[in-house]
Each structure stands twice: as structure tokens, then as C-alpha cells.
């Protein structure tokens, strides 16, 4: 549990990096990339050792740091006497420094907002006075609100119930691949075709994603569904075999 707290302590790779910089009182404009990179990667390693999932963004940042580090090791071009383009050659750290500074300001702004909200919470108001008694009007007239607005509000509310709230209600006995295959077939019979991401992406937990994916593979193997993709990286369309011509 305590590990999760440690992980949560950083809201992203920039947060972690900024923390390292502050902890070691490093000048943000002149970051010793090699030191920071080592520490950053050491941190990721310790996360892995604790079997914590390291979000991909953290890994991307590690790669970025390594790239900057290697570029810093390259010999700089000899300094020309005139101020031509080469002298203005960028410091490989520039982009990252800009990003860090921008992020630091956001963190400050976030802190400030939190302080304000806390101060505001110390302020009390009172409910409006019951004025309708002095102006009796039994016909409350609502404009711009229809019954459908009400239904819609409720439906949306149900739809956006926190995923974790829903997960709590899932039975302990997990869905089997066979059950999932049936569910997928039922759904495909209803809709004829569906996007791969819709089919698999509706899983609430990692286990469900995997089950759905396996079920889909099984259906492909049994030649009961057909997949097609119009261009590389496009979403994959899944059709029932036989319906393929129609979709």
C-alpha cells in the first residue's frame, strides 16, 4: 500500500523530474543531465522492483533523458569566430527545460487554487429566504426543461458512474473466454459490425480486457468473425463471417 502512495506522489514524469531537481537544488536552467538521468532511471528501477506498473510516459521520459545525455556527450562543433548559425546551435536540454518551467508554473497555479478553495471553504452562506410564501404561485413554471432532459440527465449519470464503483459489483467468478465469445457473438449479431477498440476497450479491468482479447482471437481462429483494417493504425473492424460483404 505504501508503495502506491509513493507512486501517486508523482503525477507524471515531469513531476518526478522536477522533484529530483529540487531535491538536489539543481539550477533548472543548467541541469547536469547525466546525474539526473541516472537518478531518474534508478527511481524507475525501484518502482519495477516493487512490481509497480511504470506508466509508459515515465519510460518515454527516460528515453528522452538518455537521448539528451548522449547528445551532450557529442563533441561540440568548434566555436566559429563569427556569429553564424552554429554558435546558436541549440543546447540539447532546451526543450526539456522549457517544458519543466512551464510545468512548474502549472504546479504553482494548482497550489494556489487549492489554497483559495480552502479559504473559500471557511466562508459560510445561508439558504435563500423562502420568498414564495409572500408571493403565492402554485404553478411553478419551468422553462427550457423537458421530461427528456430529466431522463437524459439520469441516463448520463448512470453511464458515468465511476468505473471503480461498477467494478465493485462484478461477480468474483470471472468471465470465461467461452462466455466472452458468446457475448461478443450476441453483440455482433445485434450490430453486424463493431470496432475492435469498442469490443475490447469496454473491459473494466485488465483481466477483462485480456479475456475479451483472447475471446476475439479464438473467434478469428474459428473463422466465425472477420477483421479488416483500411489503413495502418486505423481501428480494426470486426464483422460476423457472412456479414462481411454487408459491412
Amino acid at each position: 500500500m505504501a508503495y502506491e502512495v509513493a507512486l501517486d506522489a508523482f503525477s507524471g514524469p515531469l513531476d518526478l523530474l522536477l522533484n529530483l531537481i529540487q531535491k538536489h537544488e539543481i539550477d533548472i536552467h543548467d541541469i547536469p543531465v547525466s546525474v539526473v538521468t541516472d537518478q531518474y532511471i534508478a527511481y524507475l528501477r525501484s518502482m519495477e522492483e516493487l512490481s509497480l506498473e511504470v506508466a509508459s510516459e515515465f519510460l518515454v521520459m527516460a528515453a528522452t533523458l538518455l537521448a539528451i545525455k548522449s547528445r551532450m556527450l557529442l563533441p561540440r562543433p568548434p566555436r566559429p569566430t563569427t556569429a553564424d548559425e552554429d554558435e546558436l546551435a541549440e543546447d540539447p536540454r532546451d526543450a526539456l527545460v522549457q517544458q519543466l518551467i512551464a510545468y512548474q508554473r502549472i504546479k504553482q497555479a494548482a497550489d494556489m487554487l487549492r489554497d483559495r478553495a480552502e479559504r473559500q471553504r471557511l466562508v459560510y452562506s445561508r439558504p435563500p429566504m423562502q420568498l414564495s410564501a409572500s408571493a403565492p404561485d402554485p404553478h411553478v413554471c419551468l422553462t427550457g426543461v423537458s421530461l427528456w432532459d430529466l431522463v437524459d440527465a439520469f441516463r448520463k449519470l448512470m453511464n458515468r458512474l465511476q468505473p471503480q464503483d461498477r467494478v465493485a459489483e462484478v461477480r468474483v467468478d470471472a468471465v470465461t473466454v467461452e462466455e466472452m465469445m458468446n457475448q461478443l457473438l450476441v453483440r455482433l449479431q445485434r450490430t453486424r459490425a463493431a470496432w475492435f477498440s469498442d469490443l475490447v476497450g469496454m473491459g473494466r479491468t485488465r483481466a477483462e480486457w485480456v479475456t475479451a482479447f483472447l475471446a476475439l482471437l479464438e473467434l478469428v481462429k474459428e473463422k466465425r468473425v472477420v477483421c479488416r483494417q483500411t489503413a495502418p493504425f486505423e481501428d480494426i473492424e470486426i464483422c460476423l463471417r457472412g456479414e462481411a460483404e454487408a459491412c
Binding site: 459560510y124 452562506s125 445561508r126 439558504p127 435563500p128 429566504m129 423562502q130 420568498l131 414564495s132 409572500s134 408571493a135 404561485d137 402554485p138 404553478h139 411553478v140 413554471c141 419551468l142 422553462t143 427550457g144 426543461v145 423537458s146 421530461l147 427528456w148 432532459d149 430529466l150 431522463v151 437524459d152 440527465a153 439520469f154 441516463r155 449519470l157 448512470m158 453511464n159 458512474l161 465511476q162 461498477r166 467494478v167 459489483e169 462484478v170 461477480r171 468471465v175 466472452m180 457475448q183 461478443l184 453483440r187 445485434r190 450490430t191 469490443l199 469496454m202 473491459g203 473494466r204 477483462e208 475479451a212
Partner: protein, 189 residues
């Protein structure tokens, strides 16, 4: 300039709203004898009279409260007739939807569904006579349960609650999360 104690008393009476605070309650809050509280209240009452503002301190049924002075009633009547208040905020509509479909329901239940504080929206709905207290839940603290009113039915043109349109998604929702449920297409007029 008010004394710090008078200022604190003013803040408390203001926030207490139309229910006011009994002398005994104030004495407990400020940890002083009741006579002391009574004398503070009377002092504050005099201060209010002397400044001739829009408000007064009164003691009604043993409870001290701040009220508006009667001579400003015409403005308040006009305020009440403001047509501007005729629409419901998004938040109020959501709360109304939860109450309509889930009644009787407590504030805690409503907030659990919405994930946000909802007391203001509930107050607004009560003021508009769309929602009312229908009882108390039989759990510790006996929280108030809310339900819709006849005005609610009139406003939305319903014969009875049974007339509320079924929410498409609801049937699918309960116990087990249907992993691959079809996204709801709600009928619209």
C-alpha cells in the same frame, strides 16, 4: 465597530438561517452561561436597530435569528416574482433526476451517485416545490429521505410516478457489469 464576540454571534446567527439558534444552543456553542448569551444577543439587537439597516435581530419561539425588516418586504416580493429563477441548473436537474428515479433517497445516496456535494441543489428543488422530505431512513443518524411532489408531476406532465419513462440503460446496469453492453441509444422526441 462590533466587539469580537458580537461579530462571532452575528456570523453564527446568519449561518443558522431561518431556524435560528436557541439561547441554550448559543451558550453551548460559546461555552458561556445562558444569561451571558442573552445579554450579547440583546446588545447586538440594539446595534442593529441603531444602524437602521435592512436587517434586525429577533427572538422567535425562543430562537434568535436575523430577519429582514418589514419595510423592505415590497422589494422581496418583487424578487420572488423574478422570472429569471424559472430554469433549473444542470446540477439541480441531475439531483432531481436521481430523486425522481430512486425515491425515497437520502442526501448521501444522491451524493454517492453524483460524486459531488448536492445540498444546495436539494435546497433549490425544495424551494421550487419539486422535491420534499418524505421521511427518515431507519439507519444511524436517521437521515432525511427525499421524494418528488405533485408539483413535480404537473411540471413534467406526468399522471403518476409510474409514468416516468424507463431509462434505457438502467435495466442493464445493476448487479453485474455487462462488459460488452451496447451503448444506449435513447429514444428522443
Amino acid at each position: 465597530m462590533l466587539t469580537p464576540m458580537a461579530a462571532a454571534l452575528e456570523a453564527v446567527l446568519f449561518a443558522a438561517g431561518h431556524e435560528g439558534m436557541k439561547t441554550r444552543e448559543l451558550a453551548e456553542l460559546f461555552q458561556v452561561p445562558e444569561e451571558q448569551v442573552r445579554s450579547w444577543c440583546e446588545q447586538l439587537q440594539r446595534v442593529y436597530e441603531e444602524r437602521a439597516g435592512g436587517l434586525a435581530i429577533v427572538e422567535i419561539a425562543g430562537a434568535w435569528q436575523i430577519v429582514t425588516r418589514p419595510e423592505f418586504a415590497p422589494y422581496l416580493t418583487r424578487m420572488a416574482q423574478r422570472p429569471a429563477a424559472a430554469t433549473l441548473s444542470h446540477a439541480a436537474l441531475e439531483v432531481l433526476a436521481v430523486i425522481a428515479y430512486r425515491q425515497p433517497v437520502s442526501r448521501a445516496d444522491i451524493e454517492a451517485v453524483r460524486g459531488v456535494q448536492s445540498d444546495r441543489a436539494i435546497q433549490t428543488l425544495i424551494q421550487r416545490h419539486l422535491v420534499r422530505e418524505v421521511g427518515r431512513e431507519d439507519t444511524p443518524g436517521r437521515p432525511i429521505l427525499y421524494g418528488t411532489t405533485d408539483t413535480f408531476l404537473q411540471v413534467f406532465g406526468l399522471r403518476s410516478l409510474a409514468d416516468l419513462p424507463p431509462v434505457p440503460e438502467e435495466a442493464d446496469l445493476p448487479r453485474h457489469v455487462p462488459l460488452f453492453s451496447h451503448p444506449a441509444v435513447s429514444p428522443r422526441d
